[in-house]
């Protein structure tokens, strides 16, 4: 299988801690089924950060929710494999999944309000997260919550543990959510646009905190974002997703130095970079997943597209060392 070759070609690492293969997620809509994720494959390696990048509606958040089997109806995982430490999470019972969520894989969101309960103090919520998964007393859990808040840089952690979410600033709420996500010592943290709602100065603090926690705890991070500049500062590896599929994946350095897929190239070039003229732009907009172009799904916006691109869909193929692109026209080494 292609994904196996992907592994063998990734230098210096043995095996991914988390791997998604051929994921398909569909939503029933009034206008027919909508395939939000349509054959996405990506791999997260131990102690590393994989940036999953794409524009709104490309399926990046749904992919993340699928890993934890948190896709809500009318959404449904159609097929795919999610290997965590080599075992397929899709095969687990809900009860077994509950043990994975929070304890082994936890998740943080753009909006801490989605994860924090407004009627409990943040200290109680962090303690509760610990008590669900471990046999500790209420008092021990409370102490552990304060200690965790201190580790994530919450000022005055003992008194802030008694605060309710609405009493905290956006940056502090994000710290509290990170504390809750990490208190059980998970192996994997899935972070879905964790800094998108924050001011840049606060974003820098939170990104820094995540990198620090990664080093201290050996965390592997799946970092989902639309922001390529943020990805370039936190990710070791990048997977670019377009209309439900990963179209390019490689170590971050190689991707930013020499992107192979025309979509990735265009995304990088559209970022204003100080030159005063017109910006590069991508014509048109991402396709409706119910009405994809035939062949390559980027073909209707691609400057390189020819007849082959409009007829048959390219698969991820090796384009360089640990570098994969799904494009008939991609430059190869």
């Amino acid at each position: 299988m292609l994904e196996n070759t992907m592994l063998e070609n990734t230098p210096g690492v043995s095996e991914p801690i988390l791997e998604v293969r051929g994921l398909e997620v569909a939503f029933e809509t009034e206008l027919g089924p909508l395939r939000a994720v349509d054959g996405a494959s990506f791999a997260l390696f131990p102690g590393r950060t994989l940036g999953l990048v794409g524009e709104s509606g490309c399926g990046k958040s749904v992919s993340a929710l699928s890993i934890l089997q948190l896709v809500q109806p009318p959404g449904r995982i159609v097929s795919g494999v999610t290997l965590f430490h080599g075992a397929d999470l899709m095969a687990l019972e809900e009860r077994q999944m509950e043990d994975v969520r929070g304890r082994q894989i936890s998740m943080i969101f753009q909006d801490p309000a989605a994860a924090l309960n407004p009627v409990f103090s943040i200290g109680d919520q962090i303690a509760e997260a610990l008590r669900i998964h471990t046999a500790v007393s209420r008092a021990e859990a409370g102490d552990a919550a304060v200690a965790m808040l201190e580790r994530v840089g919450m000022p005055d952690p003992a008194s802030h543990a008694k605060s309710y979410p609405h009493q905290l600033s956006g940056g502090m709420r994000q710290r509290a959510m990170i504390a809750m996500a990490l208190v059980c010592g998970p192996d994997v943290l899935i972070a879905d646009e964790p800094t998108t709602a924050l001011d840049v100065t606060i974003q820098a603090q939170i990104l820094d905190l995540m990198l620090e926690m990664q080093r201290e705890m050996g965390l592997s991070i799946l970092f989902i974002t639309h922001d390529l500049a943020v990805v370039s500062e936190v990710a070791d590896d990048v997977a670019v997703i377009y209309a439900g599929r990963v179209v390019e994946t490689s170590p971050a350095k190689a991707l930013f130095e020499r992107a192979r897929h025309p979509y990735t190239k265009a995304l990088i070039e559209t970022i204003p970079g100080g030159s005063p003229g017109r910006l590069a732009s991508i014509p048109g907009m991402a396709p409706d997943p119910r009405n994809l172009p035939t062949g390559c799904r980027f073909s209707d916006r691609c400057p390189l597209a020819d007849d082959q691109c409009r007829v048959s869909e390219p698969e991820l193929e090796s384009a360089g060392e640990a570098h994969w692109a799904a494009c008939w026209k991609a430059d190869h080494d």
Binding site: E55, D199, L211, A229, S281
Partner: protein, 336 residues
């Protein structure tokens, strides 16, 4: 109807020294009830002065809550200022009553961040674009429709789009509609509050290019509010950095980004992520420490001192004034 500026060659943006808008000592306070019923005022804009020349783009940057949007709305007389002066095209408008503002309103238009909220969902695109013309009783129905078509085409919409409704368009297309409407009266000044922040990057660059083209063609001045410094640097001629209701630094765009003088401006620029530097080492946090103080309880002295690496005793007691550090470059810091 007014003469159509169609066919004016591109590249004719005329920026002159003639000030279009001069804002002086502008203050905007909001009443606020504390828990327990005690009333107090929150000073969202605290004595701000700036000017915009004809055809010039001035950007306001700063963290959320710094007063950017309130300042723009006060200058546009959407929320009349508590005190201070706003001279627009040579006329004091801060003291005018609603009715007398109509003339000035015609010469200023707004574009907002959220094109979903700013377009009337019950009107077809033709009526949305032509609405400002109708409000000011310009032309008859047929003329307004013809003008709406011309405007729609100038922002990249098609003739058949005129009879569709906002919900039938994507975010980027809606922003084009909002821009066409803003251009209908050929305003001298456009307030653009985060006009591309809600858009995906591939769409964001399309809209920024459109705004640049229209600026070349029609030559309006912009007061441009943005939090994405790369976008601001690309689009603005001059930049004012706001912090807690004040302008703390102001300079030509390239000067500000290359040699920021105020520690807050430096922190803001350092904190903005950039491509091409590789993964950061943990602990290499750039930007300002701590949280933004509450606007209800601003620190005494320089409002940035609790977060400032350079703060000394004087900063805790004496607020620094905005002073010239070189021609065209002002900063409010005791240690620039």
């Amino acid at each position: 109807m007014r003469e159509r500026p169609i066919g004016r060659p591109a590249g004719r943006r005329i920026m002159t020294d003639a000030p279009l808008m001069i804002v002086k000592d502008l203050v905007k306070e909001f009443p606020h009830k504390r828990a327990g019923g005690r009333s107090e005022t929150m000073r969202a804009v605290n004595g701000v002065s700036f000017h915009i020349r004809r055809g010039e783009t001035l950007a306001l940057v700063g963290e959320s809550g710094s007063g950017k949007t309130t300042l723009a709305r006060a200058a546009a007389m959407l929320h009349p200022p508590t005190s201070g002066s706003v001279v627009f095209e040579g006329r004091e408008i801060a003291t005018l009553k609603r009715r007398s503002l109509k003339g000035a309103r015609k010469r200023m238009q707004m574009i907002f961040q959220d094109p979903y909220a700013s377009l009337n969902p019950r009107l077809p695109v033709s009526a949305i674009i032509a609405e400002p013309l109708a409000i000011h009783s310009l032309g008859n129905r047929a003329e307004r429709r013809a003008e709406a078509l011309r405007l729609a085409q100038s922002v990249g919409l098609k003739a058949q789009d005129l009879d569709r409704y906002p919900h039938q368009f994507s975010g980027g297309q809606r922003q084009r509609i909002a821009i066409a409407r803003a251009l209908a009266l050929k305003p001298a000044l456009i307030f653009a509050d985060e006009p591309v922040s809600a858009l995906d990057v591939s769409i964001q660059s399309q809209i920024l290019n459109l705004l640049r083209d229209l600026r070349e063609e029609y030559g309006p001045a912009f007061l441009f509010i943005g939090h994405d410094l790369a976008v601001v640097r690309h689009f603005a001629d001059r930049v004012a950095v706001m912090y807690m209701g004040r302008i703390v630094e102001e300079a030509a765009s390239e000067t500000l980004f290359n040699t920021p003088r105020h520690p807050y401006a430096r922190a803001l620029i350092a904190a903005a992520p950039r491509i091409g530097q590789g993964k950061r080492a943990p602990g290499a946090m750039r930007g300002a420490a701590r949280d933004i103080p509450s606007p209800f309880d601003p620190p005494p002295g320089c409002p940035f001192h609790p977060r400032c690496p350079m703060a000394e005793d004087i900063c805790k007691t004496t607020p620094p004034e905005l002073e010239l550090v070189e021609p065209g470059h002002q900063a409010a810091c005791h240690f620039t």
